[in-house]
């Protein structure tokens, strides 16, 4: 939707030397925001992984009257049909996280390859690829996912494909922007002269040089993917309507916010902390990458 707020998506941020991903991560950990983000994301991921094993009740077990308030048996009360909110909270994060990670990774890979190829080609291929990306970007992410689900049905693979498809052009733009100044540099011409195969130039020479902006954009896209996937479930289009899902829970239990707020508030808090966490990590990496650029400019 929106490039990384102009911090490092501009071609001017192209780096003089490659920043290793590990060193960028390490440096960004000096910032508090990155640490807080990692703690938040770590806690929520842990909750999603361990949750199903420690849940006190089955995710579809009826344990009391609908919308009953928190009690010893159900610490967060019950939901719209009398299931345990805590157990559903513990069970409901896995599918969102897994779908978001797979979809973002797929979009990241496709977008990076397309963006690098476009920047490297600098000819008609560049135009064709990037205008194709424009076509996909003319659809808001939620809308394309909705249309895909309308036509094919709410299956996991449809959602993954729709998110990956809408993530790729946004990544491709950043990758191309970052790669454009790099492909003009002498070491690329040198590799070409030495007869290095094209795929090696792209992945060994070019790729490490655009990692900084890519990592920033990737964390931003992950934040959005989580939001869109949860929103689809919220709109009533979860792949498995009966299963616990944070988005579905908010939708099912929000009518009773005045009497039993936890049914909707608990998954709201979970999603909010998760996306804030990924957002903070992304911002930490962005600041670090921008800081490295500034320091180099002063050299």
């Amino acid at each position: 939707m929106i490039p990384a707020a102009g911090i490092s998506a501009s071609p001017a941020d192209a780096q003089v030397r490659p920043v290793r991903a590990s060193s960028l991560m390490r440096r960004s950990l000096r910032l508090w925001r990155t640490r807080i983000g990692l703690i938040l994301v770590g806690a929520l991921v842990l909750l999603a992984i361990i949750g199903p094993f420690v849940a006190p009740h089955g995710q579809s077990a009826f344990i009391g009257p609908p919308f009953s308030n928190p009690s010893g048996k159900a610490p967060l009360g019950t939901d719209h049909i009398g299931q345990d909110v805590l157990s559903r909270l513990l069970n409901g994060g896995g599918s969102i996280l897994l779908t978001a990670i797979i979809a973002t990774a797929a979009g990241l890979i496709a977008g990076t390859v397309i963006g690098m190829a476009a920047a490297y080609a600098r000819n008609a291929l560049d135009d064709v690829l990037m205008r194709g990306m424009d076509v996909i970007m003319a659809f808001p992410q939620v809308m394309l996912a909705l249309v895909a689900v309308a036509v094919v049905g709410p299956h996991n693979w449809v959602i993954v494909l729709a998110i990956a498809l809408t993530t790729a052009p946004r990544i491709a733009r950043v990758a191309r922007g970052a790669a454009l100044p790099v492909v003009e540099r002498d070491f690329i011409a040198c590799s070409e002269a030495m007869g290095v195969p094209r795929w090696r130039i792209l992945f060994v020479d070019l790729f490490p040089n655009i990692l900084g902006p890519l990592m920033v954009e990737a964390s931003l896209r992950l934040t959005y993917s989580i939001g869109v996937i949860a929103a689809l479930a919220f709109l009533g289009l979860a792949p498995n309507p009966g299963a616990a899902n944070w988005g579905t829970m908010i939708q099912e239990n929000r009518i009773a916010l005045a009497v039993q707020p936890w049914g909707a508030a608990a998954p709201i808090i979970a999603i909010a902390l998760l996306t804030m966490g990924t957002g903070l990590i992304g911002d930490g990496i962005a600041r670090t990458a921008a800081g490295i650029d500034r320091a180099r400019g002063a050299e």
Binding site: M143, L146, T223, T278
Partner: protein, 324 residues
């Protein structure tokens, strides 16, 4: 991109317009292919497994499915150009009749949100840039960062918890606009949806405004203006602001376009009677003509806003004009 460097500003605008039209044409192909030309039978997808052969045949005729695919596309696209969007399957009325009033409602929602959020975020961003690293800057930057990460429906439900149900009940939780009346008849119904959209947009615009303003404030010409002894107000309003706004236009347009998608979820949360909730309903009801019309409409708005952003950026940034 500008391989054909001729024609100055008009030429540039014409080229962008042409490019936008080409993208729109491609979009129409994608929408059509996705909704109608897919392998499989759209009529059966709409009516479900229990449909009788007669009703299937009737619907196929209705959707022109008995014609060749190219013919179907041409019928659809020429209807689209003449403002004939077909019949809504769920409502049994022309799509234009179904969507017309809802389009007005949604436009009002987006317009009010834009009018509220843009000056606000420009002010926040400029102020944060002026008071860089002071309390206001630190607070607003971190708060906006946290808000930016929240999905809109999460923001919306949090606002409902805070202002319409659990914590306090000062505003209605449901913003239905009854047929025959406009959103202006129900101002209190607009508050929460608008607030949600403002929170969704303001972080990005104010963030880019802050970055852009900081860059401008460090530039030589602002230094020069200050050294000339101009009052700080004049320096800000006459010299810094116009130049800082350039990159912001792009982000504002992107965010307005984003609003076009964001209203789908926000309208659904508040049961607001607009095109966003119409899209959600059409998807659930398999009402493909409505899905097609809305997909084309939202994509067209998106392309148009991007176009305007490019032109506006060029117009407000003198140094870019010479490069055309």
């Amino acid at each position: 991109m500008n391989r054909f460097r001729s024609g100055g500003l008009t030429g540039f605008m014409l080229r962008r317009l042409l490019l936008g039209l080409i993208v729109l044409l491609m979009v129409s192909l994608v929408v059509f292919a996705a909704t109608q030309a897919l392998p499989g039978d759209p009529a059966r997808a709409i009516l479900g497994r229990a449909a009788t052969p007669q009703s299937l045949a009737a619907l196929r005729r209705h959707l022109h499915l008995n014609q060749p695919v190219i013919q179907q596309y041409l019928t659809w696209i020429s209807g689209l150009l003449r403002g004939n969007l077909g019949m809504s399957i769920a409502a049994q009325q022309p799509v234009t009749t179904v969507l017309g009033p809802r389009l007005v409602n949604s436009s009002v929602l987006v317009a009010v949100s834009a009018v509220a959020s843009i000056p606000l975020s420009i002010a926040i961003g400029s102020w944060a840039a002026l008071k860089r690293e002071k309390i206001f800057d630190t607070l607003s930057t971190n708060l906006l960062l946290a808000l930016a990460a929240l999905p809109e429906f999460v923001v919306a439900v949090i606002l409902v918890i805070l202002l319409a149900t659990t914590v306090s009940q000062v505003l209605p939780a449901v913003s239905e606009i009854p047929p025959g009346s406009g959103p202006w008849d129900h101002p209190s119904a607009l508050v929460l949806p608008v607030l949600t959209l403002v929170i969704a947009v303001a972080p990005y615009v104010s963030r880019i405004m802050r970055a852009s303003m900081i860059e401008v404030l460090e530039s030589d010409y602002v230094e020069m203006a200050r050294l000339k002894g101009l009052p700080e107000r004049t320096v800000m309003i006459r010299h810094a602001l116009p130049n800082a706004l350039g990159p912001v236009f792009q982000v504002i347009a992107l965010n307005l376009a984003y609003l076009a998608g964001g209203i789908v979820v926000v309208e659904y949360v508040f049961n607001y009677t607009g095109i966003g909730s119409a899209l959600q309903e059409a998807v659930v009801n398999h009402d493909l003509p409505v899905v097609q019309a809305l997909a084309m409409l939202i994509a067209a708005v998106y392309i148009l806003l991007n176009l305007l952003a490019d032109v506006a950026t060029i117009l407000v940034t003198p140094r870019l004009r010479t490069r055309l």
